[in-house]
Symmetry: C2
Subunit: 297 residues, 2 copies
């Protein structure tokens, strides 16, 4: 049995007449007669009752017809879905995310992606950087969002956004009176570092910057996540350096001031397997790239 048989059968069933049915499928009448007979022989079932003025479906024919429409519809749908999948418009995308990235960038990116590719199921997985790398290698993730990505592992990395570093300060702290904060102003200030893991972290980066300036910061606390660190700032525990996106976290008595210096930025990047040719990944990267160039200006 071939699809040709099903198409011819449907045409004949609907037209009830070999001549018209043949015209409809763009062949002449004798080949249609032959193909139908072939189908009937293969099925071992008479599908049409030949009457004097055309043909009528037998009972077996009626049953076959019901199934045939299903098969043809399924085949049609399969073609369309496969085409969509190949264009990266249908399927599933597993995205690795982490604490502070969720605050602002990820929602905007994912929203835009879902708007453009509504048939792609997006699954978000909150994981640390090493967990993401592992998951990417094992294929459990398609793309992961990371900061301070080590060059080493065989991963392609693409910058999503360059963010200024901001200093979160309690408004009672005298530093809050300045519009920008220089690193040197950290001398003597109680500093909250985050995240405490995984290393190397933004905290490590800040300490290294201070060292380059010729002093060692007074670290009073290391915390797991950005929300906790800002909460500590809010209660007057100390100051804290955070990526700009964290400023969307508004807590009482907390003000944000840019860290002075043009190179005081941190990159948010997305990582993926360089051998992954998945069209969904390509679709996603396209959205990322547009997002980046829109936010560069």
């Amino acid at each position: 049995m071939e699809f040709r048989h099903l198409r011819y059968f449907m045409a004949l069933a609907e037209e009830g007449n070999f001549g018209r049915a043949a015209k409809r499928v763009h062949i002449s009448q004798p080949p249609l007669t032959r193909q139908i007979r072939q189908l009937e022989e293969e099925l071992g079932a008479r599908l049409f009752e030949r009457t004097s003025k055309g043909v009528e479906l037998t009972e077996a024919g009626h049953l076959f017809r019901e199934e045939a429409v299903k098969i043809l519809a399924l085949a049609q749908l399969t073609g369309e879905k496969t085409r969509m999948a190949a264009r990266g418009e249908l399927g599933r995308l597993d995205v690795g995310i982490f604490g502070s990235s969720v605050l602002d960038v990820i929602p905007r990116l994912i929203l835009e992606f879902r708007r453009r590719y509504p048939a792609v199921e997006v699954h978000l997985h909150n994981m640390t950087r090493p967990e993401q790398i592992q998951a990417l290698q094992e294929g459990r993730l398609t793309v992961g969002f990371v900061r301070l990505f080590p060059d080493a592992p065989a991963m392609a990395v693409e910058t999503v956004l360059k963010e200024r570093l901001m200093v979160a300060i309690n408004r009672d702290n005298e530093l809050s009176r300045h519009r920008e904060i220089a690193l040197r102003a950290f001398v003597g200030q109680p500093l909250i570092l985050f995240p405490s893991s995984p290393r190397p972290s933004l905290g490590d980066h800040i300490v290294a910057l201070c060292n380059r300036e010729g002093f060692t910061p007074r670290v009073v606390q290391e915390v797991e996540d950005v929300v906790t660190s800002i909460a500590l700032v809010s209660s007057g525990f100390g100051i804290c350096v955070v990526p700009e996106c964290a400023t969307s976290l508004r807590l009482p008595r907390v003000v944000y001031r840019p860290l002075k210096g043009t190179d005081q930025i941190i990159e948010l990047a997305c990582a993926y397997r360089p051998d992954d040719r998945s069209p969904i990944l390509q679709s996603f990267l396209e959205v990322v790239r547009q997002f980046r160039s829109a936010n560069e200006a």
Copy 2:
């Protein structure tokens, strides 16, 4: 897209290697390569990633594979079901029945039919003779059980069973002392006739027989159905002539005696459209014929 493509695709997806897949579908490797490429071009989607040591499904390929197995399974099943339908082993049978026929014959027949053709849905419809004829003509019934079928309408009629006529008598009636009852013994007896409709009925037949014997029976009551008539016999209202199958109705004080005479029989027949070539009808008629020859002896 043709089934060929699906079969080849499945083989390749499972073998992961053109050479082995080609062997599996009994063609050589180059045509398989061509057919797969053809399928990919038609779908506008790369289905396999060609690697150094074989092929692997792409994402679109995985999706296509899942759908392909459904299509192939559906096609296979369709073939089998159609074959069954053509052999009269699958489908639906609408049977017209009526009062007294239900008592004994129909259950036995239907049970046997369902044992032999378990995939045929049997629907029973209780209707009068004219209703059955109407329904048969309109195709709402495939076969109908009737008694005293008029020859006229364009229906094929097949005898199912020839039953003796029995006289139902209250045991207090002196007639109950005889082993057989002659028609002549009806003289002066209160007679219950059934059914009152549709005409011609068994009741009419009895009256005609009496007239042929030279007397007019004393009809005390006409009733709709056999159960009522036997109930009246039970309460001493009179005697009643019924088909033998009605003797399975055991009511208090009712005894059954054969009506004397070798020609005192009534036929149960089944009627169907003579132009109906439905294989299910043929299957059913076969069961009917076997039933008849089993009960003739």
